[in-house]
């Protein structure tokens, strides 16, 4: 009827729960009903017996048993409709019976001894005729002694038939309820199974690579969360794919441009026939483009190292101000081209010494300043501000008045491969590498930006607590020399690092 699966499972569970509940209720009901019927009949007989006994005993005279009419009188007094009345003696022998017959033998059912003991005895069982009967015996006191037993016997055949009918009826009602609830449970199961099936189908599509598939429908609670998570996952997969594709295309572009120059010039030069001046220009271009290529590869190497946590730092004392001045000198020419004014704003009153890898830090600031220059308009300015946030933290801000970054891009700007505009060239790795390098130095890098108004990149770095230290000139030299010894870093990495300009 229902195909295998969670739906059938749910329906089955409903069925079992309801069935067990109904079954228990039915059993209890049947027992309660039986008890009620039997008890009522028993009470009817025993109450009648007790009441009549009280009444009868008022009129019992001493030796009344000798009266020839004694038992006839008792029978008449105790008579109860629809019962057979017997008067027994203590041995269970029938002294008188409402049937006109003599009893065949003494009554030996369990109700008699109970009555002899003074209580109300009850017995339910089959008579010799095969009929189900209930017998209730009560003692009849004569002279303070339980001399006789009043025993009522009534047939339970009608009662049992009625009980059977009622039980069958209740079973019928129970079955109807069970059927109804099962039908309901199919509906309820569908409300759970449908979304699950839907989600399953969509996720199967996703697994086959169709990441544009989305789970539709407004589901609640866990299912809703599951659907949303799956959708988000698909989106993320698409986005990261996109970033990768962008990266590959931009990197290819970055690689192709210098390669084209190199190829063009090398072919031109091979054909020969140029004056030395031209040959010099060509060779310069080839050299420059090669350098650019190396830079690119270098950047990617750095990045992959950072990515695999294999970046080694050559730790030494670094004078931050000197570092910034060197950086400025490095980008001076580029800034000059765009008529951008570079300015170092020193807001400290003492040298700022940092324990770290001077080359890596220089790489960070070069990247930041380079970016600032790159995204600044002509005839504008870029400020480098150095200050002490507190006695143990130095703050370097690179402030420009350039194009800025929109808010939506701001969060992703330091992600790898992210580029706001791919036409500007570059790998999109610069900021990501810078950020990770700063973090390697136990510092932080923050970007504040407003679209069209400019960008401020703040770098905080922990400062070496200065205790009236000497000047920084030698410390800068020192770092290169002592670097290998500081903490066993791989010195071979220093080969790779000095080329970043």
């Amino acid at each position: 009827m229902i195909k295998k699966g969670i739906g059938r499972q749910i329906v089955l569970h409903y069925f079992i729960v309801v069935f067990v509940t109904l079954f228990m209720v039915e059993v209890i009901f049947a027992f309660a009903l039986r008890t009620y019927y039997y008890q009522t009949i028993e009470n009817h007989m025993s109450n009648h017996a007790t009441r009549t006994t009280d009444y009868f005993q008022k009129f019992v005279k001493l030796y009344a048993e000798r009266d020839p009419d004694y038992f006839t009188e008792i029978l008449r007094t105790f008579e109860l409709d629809n019962t057979e009345l017997m008067i027994l003696n203590r041995k269970g022998e029938v002294r008188a019976s409402s049937t006109q017959f003599q009893a065949d033998r003494p009554i030996q059912t369990s109700d008699v001894p109970q009555a002899v003991a003074g209580g109300v005895g009850k017995w339910v069982g089959r008579q010799s005729t095969g009929e189900w009967v209930m017998a209730v015996s009560t003692p009849l006191q004569v002279r303070g002694e339980n001399r006789y037993i009043v025993r009522y016997v009534t047939s339970l055949e009608d009662v049992n038939a009625k009980l059977m009918n009622l039980t069958l009826l209740s079973v019928g009602v129970g079955s109807a309820v069970l059927a109804l609830v099962t039908l309901f449970s199919i509906g309820l199961a569908n409300s759970i199974v449908k979304p699950i099936n839907n989600i399953r189908a969509v996720s199967a599509q996703m697994a086959r690579g169709k990441f544009d598939a989305r789970i539709k429908g407004n589901y609640k609670y866990e299912l809703g969360e599951l659907a949303a998570t799956l959708n988000y996952m698909a989106e993320e997969i698409v986005r990261s794919n996109q970033i990768k594709d962008d990266f590959i295309s931009s990197i290819s572009h970055e690689l192709r441009t210098p390669l084209t120059g190199i190829k063009g010039w090398s072919e031109t030069l091979t054909s020969g026939g140029f004056d030395p001046e031209e040959t010099k220009i060509g060779m310069q271009i080839i050299s420059k483009e090669t350098e650019r290529l190396i830079g690119l590869v270098e950047e990617m190497l750095d990045f992959s190292k950072l990515q695999q946590n294999e970046m080694k730092l050559v730790i030494g004392r670094v004078n931050l101000k000197e570092l910034l001045q060197e950086t400025m000198l490095n980008v001076w020419a580029k800034a000059e081209q765009k008529q951008i004014q570079l300015k170092l704003d020193d807001r400290t009153d003492r040298p700022v010494i940092i324990i770290g890898d001077g080359n890596r830090l220089k790489q960070v600031f070069l990247n930041l300043v380079d970016n600032a220059v790159k995204f600044s308009n002509e005839n504008s300015w870029v400020h480098l501000v150095i200050s002490l946030k507190d006695s143990s933290t130095a703050l370097v801000q690179v402030v420009d008045s350039g194009i800025g970054i929109s808010e939506e891009h701001l969060a992703k700007v330091s992600d790898r491969f992210f580029q706001v505009n791919h036409n500007r060239g570059g790998t999109g790795l610069g900021l990501a590498i810078s950020k990770q390098l700063v973090e390697l130095h136990k510092g932080e890098m923050d970007i504040h930006s407003e679209l069209g108004a400019g960008t401020t990149v703040s770098v905080t770095l922990p400062v070496l607590e200065v205790v009236g230290e000497a000047d920084s000139g030698e410390t800068a030299d020192e770092d290169a020399g002592s670097s290998g010894a500081v903490n066993g870093k791989d010195t071979s990495s220093s080969d790779n690092r000095d080329t970043r300009e």
Partner: protein
């Protein structure tokens, strides 16, 4: 799949609806008063057939004998020892000249066929016994008839059933009759007590010999009595059977006569009526269940000799006949004269215990040792409220409508328990 389910729903709905409808419609007798379902139990098919045949024949005119020993009206026995069961029943026809009749039915092929109807006497069936009084093995019908008024002469008739007709083989007037074997010859005899009120009483024993009843002996008791309040028969001594007549000698007083048959002669064992005279009519009978009859005597507890008759808490002493010593003491009991309880005094108390003189009948009775005056036991009447408070100490003796009678023992005597049990 969904189509299937929907189809099922469509098929289920009418079923469900009809089930609910059934429930609603049957709601009116869903529950019934259980008492209305009670039914008189069926008799065995044989009895049922017999009863229906008798009812069809007699239209409910069946009568029960006025006899405390057996009041059943339909009796089944093989009367003429032919292997076929017969049923004997008496019925009345108030409008006819003969008002009481008997009928014999025979069991033929699992049904009952009326065989013979026979006439009775008078208007009331006093007693009705089926016994072999002829010694032939055949069962006779011994029936007593009366005109319905107490203490008048009744008529005793012994019927014999031959298989086709019923014959009367003995007809006697009587006041009391006893079927017993007084002469110890192994054959039942019939003893008839016939009373001439306030003049004399004759006791006559008959036995069936050679096709008719012969008079074995006749005894005339010359004491004028107005009647007998009790007649019992049974073992007078372990060997000898006899009759005890409790005679009425005054409004409340009486005396007992023991009659046995010795060498074919009826003998009055206690001709001196004063020796059994009692101021209260105590029943003779087998009081201690030893199979031998005792006669009761009233005994004033020691110390109560000068108290008014009505206030005395009488003790009942029972005696039986000993061939050598005459009447011998058997046991003693305290009897509530209103019949609510009696209390058999334990053996150790006999002759040593009396009832405290301060006791009040129907209120508080104290049994005390005659020598030490120590209280041995108490019987006390409580109201229901009082009983609630004392029931931990007192044992329940009997319960009246508004009184509870409790028993408190100061010795190791217990009601209905253990060896020291007292028979109530």
């Amino acid at each position: 799949m969904k189509r299937v389910i929907r189809l099922n729903v469509n098929r289920w709905l009418p079923l469900l609806g009809s089930a609910l409808l059934l429930l609603v419609l049957s709601g009116c007798n869903f529950m019934m008063d259980p008492k209305l379902l009670m039914k008189t139990p069926e008799l065995s098919s044989e009895k049922e057939t017999l009863r229906s045949v008798i009812n069809a024949e007699l239209k409910g005119a069946v009568i029960r004998p006025r006899d405390a020993t057996d009041i059943s009206s339909i009796r089944v026995v093989d009367l003429n020892k032919d292997g076929i069961m017969e049923a004997v029943v008496f019925y009345e026809t108030p409008l006819e000249k003969v008002k009481v009749h008997g009928m014999i039915l025979e069991n033929q092929n699992d049904t009952w066929v009326p065989k013979v109807r026979f006439d009775g006497e008078g208007q009331v069936l006093e007693s009705f016994e089926l016994k072999d009084v002829t010694g032939t093995g055949e069962i006779n019908i011994v029936a007593g008839f009366s005109s319905g008024e107490n203490q008048t002469q009744k008529g005793l008739i012994v019927y014999s059933y031959t298989g086709s007709s019923v014959e009367r083989i003995l007809e006697l007037p009587y006041n009391y009759f006893i079927i017993d074997d007084l002469n110890d010859d192994g054959q039942l005899d019939i003893t008839v007590v016939s009373l001439r009120k306030d003049q004399y009483t004759t006791v006559t024993t008959y036995q069936y010999e050679q096709s008719s009843f012969q008079e074995l002996d006749k005894l005339q008791l010359d004491n004028a009595v107005s009647g007998y309040y009790n007649v019992v028969h049974g073992n007078i001594t372990p060997e000898k059977r006899g009759i005890i007549l409790d005679a009425i000698s005054g409004e409340l007083s009486g005396y007992s006569i023991i009659i046995i048959m010795e060498d074919g002669k009826l003998i009055d064992l206690i001709p001196d009526q004063s020796s059994t005279l009692k101021d209260y009519q105590i029943m003779s009978g087998d009081v201690n269940d030893d199979g031998i009859l005792e006669i009761g005597m009233l005994e004033t507890p020691k110390g109560w000799e000068y108290i008014a008759f009505d206030d005395i808490p009488w003790l009942f002493s029972y005696y039986r006949w000993d061939p050598d010593k005459g009447l011998t003491f058997v046991m003693q009991q305290y009897m509530d004269l209103e019949g609510r309880f009696y209390f058999n005094l334990p053996k150790e108390w006999w002759g040593k215990v009396t009832i405290d003189i301060k006791s009040v009948k129907d209120e508080h009775i104290k049994f005390v040792d005659i020598d030490t005056n120590a209280t041995l036991a108490e019987i006390r009447f409580f109201s229901l409220a009082e009983w609630e408070q004392v029931q931990e100490d007192w044992e329940l003796f009997a319960r009246d409508n508004d009184k509870v009678i409790g028993f408190l023992s100061h010795t190791d005597l217990k009601v209905n328990k253990g060896e020291k049990e007292i028979k109530r």
